[in-house]
Symmetry: C2
DNA sequence: GATCCAATGTGAGAATTTGCACAGGATCAC
DNA sequence: GTGATCCTGTGCAAATTCTCACATTGGATC
C-alpha cells in the first residue's frame, strides 16, 4: 500500500460506482482511473471491484477500502481546512524567545497580544542557551548586540533599550550619590563578571576601577537583583527600573550605553499572518521603551 | 488536498526530519520529495517545514499533518493486511444463490462449509428474480437447464439432480399406485403451471393428459408442498424426498428427467481461495445426490 | 581552524504516467 | 426491435514527473 493516490482513486470508484464518474470527480481521464484500479488490485492480489457494463461495484474488499478511505478523506479535508486557516489566522502557538532581561517588559506585551487573540497560546522561552529559529524552536526572537547574520533569518532593527544607572534607596541613604564620574571611585558598583561586549559594560569597565565593581553576576537579571538589594550602583533598563519604587536613578540614560536590539524571525515564518501580526503589535508597544 | 501521495511524502519527512531519509524510505529520489513538499505547501499556503542545514523540522502545521497522516498510515497498513489476507484465506462473506428448490439439499452443505471455516458468514440468496453475478450480488450460483453463457462468468457442469416421481402415503392409501404409464390417466398429478423447458416437465406434459395435472404451481418448492400435502403424484429431487418419511416413490429416477446443473462464478472471483475452497467442498458433497 | 560529511537545492535528460480517440458492449426508452 | 446513450477498455502520442548529476551550504570532528 505504497501509493495513496491509487487508494484515493479506488475510493472514488467505490463511492460512485463508475469509472467515468470517479474520473470526473478526480479531474482525470477515465483511462487513468482504470489503470490505478488495476495496479492496486494487482499489488494487493485482491479484486476490489466487479466489472460490468453498468460500472464497477465494490466487492467485500472494495467496501472495506471504501470505509477506510472515507474516514481518510474526511480527515484530510478537516486537516486541509485547519492548515489553510492557520496560514491567515492568528491561532495555535506563538513561540517567542529573548534574553531573560526582557522578561519584565515583554511579559505585558505578550499578555496584551494574547488578549487580542484569545485562540493563541503564547510560549515565552528564556534560558541559558540561545534558542534557534532555524530549527523551529521559536517564531520570533529578540536579540541584542551586533546584528545577527544567520542566513535564513529575517532581521529587523528594533531600536535601543534605554539604560541608566540606578541604585536602591537603601544604598543611597548609606552612601549618597556620586557627584560626578570622578566620584565613582568612592562607590560600589554592580556589573557583569564576564567580559561581555555590551556597550554599557565596556563603559563601566573603562570608567570604574575594577575593584569598585564589588557585585558581579553572570546574567543581567541577577545584576538587577543585586542593585535592588542595595549591593551598589548598576545598569538597569529604564523600563524595568520604573516598576520599582525602591530605585533611584543615579545617571540618566545615554544613547551610547544601549546596545541595538534586533527582531529576528525565520524566513519561512516571517510572512505568516501570526508572526506579522505579532511584530506589528510588538513594534507599537516598543515605542514606549525606546531611548 | 487532492494529492494523497504528497501528503504521504510530507508525512515521512515530518516523521524522519530529513528529506534524504524520507526519500530512502519512500524509494524515490530526494529531489522528488522536495518537489512534493514545495507543491503541498504552495497549495495549502502554509509552511509545513522549516528548512535548515540539518534537515526539515515540522512547523505547527507540519506536526498537525504528521498526526493525521500517521493515523492514515496505520489504517492503510491494517487495511492492506486485511485485504491481502482476504485473498488467500476463507473469511468474510460467502454469497450463494440458487433456485429455491435446492435449499433443502444446499443448506447442509453450506452449514458444513461454514463449520470448516468459522470466520465465514454465509448468505444464501433465493428469490423470485435471478441474482446476478456480474453485479457482485453473489459469489457462486447454482443454475439448472441450458448452459449459461454470460460473458464474464465461469461455468462448470455440476452433474444432474436425480428426480423421481413421488406421492404422499395418504395419496397412495386413497388412490393406489399407477401400474404403468397408461394408468396415469387415472391419477392426479402435481406439475408446473408455466411451460418451463425443464425436461421432467416436458415429459410430464407429454405423458400425462393436461386435465390430470390437477395441482399446478409456479415454482418447484410449492410443487413439493403440493405433493407432500397429498395433491397427487409429482416430481421431487430424490435427495429432497429422502428427508420425508411420508413420501412414496412411484417411479425411480431416470436420467432423461433431470436437467443439467451448472456451477457459475464470476471470473473476477473465480480464482479467489474462498470461492475455490467452496467449489471443491460443494462438488465433493454433490457426489451424493447425483443421478 | 581545516577538512570531511551529510544535508538541501537545481538544471537536463529519461521514463513513467496521462490524455485522447475510438472500439465494443449493454441497457433503456419508445 | 431499434436507435440512443452510457459505460468500459486499449493503442498511441504528449506531457508531466522522476531520476541523475553536480553545486552548495552548514555542522561536526579531530
Amino acid at each position: 500500500m505504497d501509493n495513496w493516490d491509487e487508494v484515493r482513486t479506488a475510493f472514488q470508484v467505490a463511492r460512485l460506482g463508475t469509472v467515468s464518474g470517479a474520473a470526473e470527480v478526480l479531474g482525470v481521464h477515465h483511462a487513468t482511473v482504470i489503470r490505478h484500479i488495476d495496479a492496486l488490485e494487482t499489488k494487493l492480489g485482491v479484486k476490489l471491484f466487479q466489472r460490468h457494463a453498468r460500472g464497477y461495484t465494490a466487492t467485500e474488499a472494495g467496501n472495506d477500502l471504501l470505509q477506510v478511505a472515507q474516514t481518510t478523506d474526511d480527515q484530510f479535508a478537516q486537516l486541509s481546512g485547519r492548515l489553510k486557516g492557520r496560514g491567515s489566522s492568528v491561532t495555535g502557538e506563538l513561540v517567542v524567545t529573548s534574553l531573560a532581561t526582557f522578561s519584565p517588559v515583554l511579559a505585558p506585551v505578550l499578555v496584551g497580544f494574547r488578549e487580542e487573540h484569545p485562540e493563541l497560546t503564547v510560549r515565552y522561552l528564556t534560558g541559558d542557551r540561545l534558542f534557534r529559529l532555524e530549527y523551529g524552536e521559536a517564531h520570533v526572537a529578540i536579540r541584542a548586540g551586533a546584528a545577527p547574520d544567520q542566513p535564513d533569518n529575517v532581521v529587523q532593527p528594533f531600536g535601543h533599550q534605554a539604560l541608566a544607572l540606578y541604585a536602591s534607596k537603601r544604598y543611597v541613604e548609606r552612601n549618597g550619590v556620586p557627584e560626578n564620574e570622578a566620584d565613582f571611585v568612592n562607590h560600589s558598583f554592580v556589573g557583569h563578571d564576564a567580559e561581555t561586549r555590551a556597550p554599557f559594560n565596556l563603559w563601566l569597565r573603562e570608567v570604574v576601577p575594577l575593584e569598585n565593581i564589588v557585585y558581579r553576576t553572570l546574567d543581567n537579571r541577577s545584576m538587577q537583583d543585586g542593585v535592588t538589594a542595595g549591593a551598589g550602583i548598576g545598569f538597569l533598563p529604564c523600563s524595568v527600573a520604573e516598576k520599582f519604587d525602591d530605585l533611584v536613578q543615579i545617571e540618566p540614560s545615554r544613547p551610547e550605553w544601549s546596545a541595538p536590539l534586533w527582531l529576528v524571525t525565520h524566513v519561512d515564518l516571517h510572512r505568516t499572518a501570526k508572526v506579522q501580526s505579532f511584530l506589528t503589535y510588538l513594534k507599537r508597544a516598543a515605542k514606549d521603551w525606546e531611548v
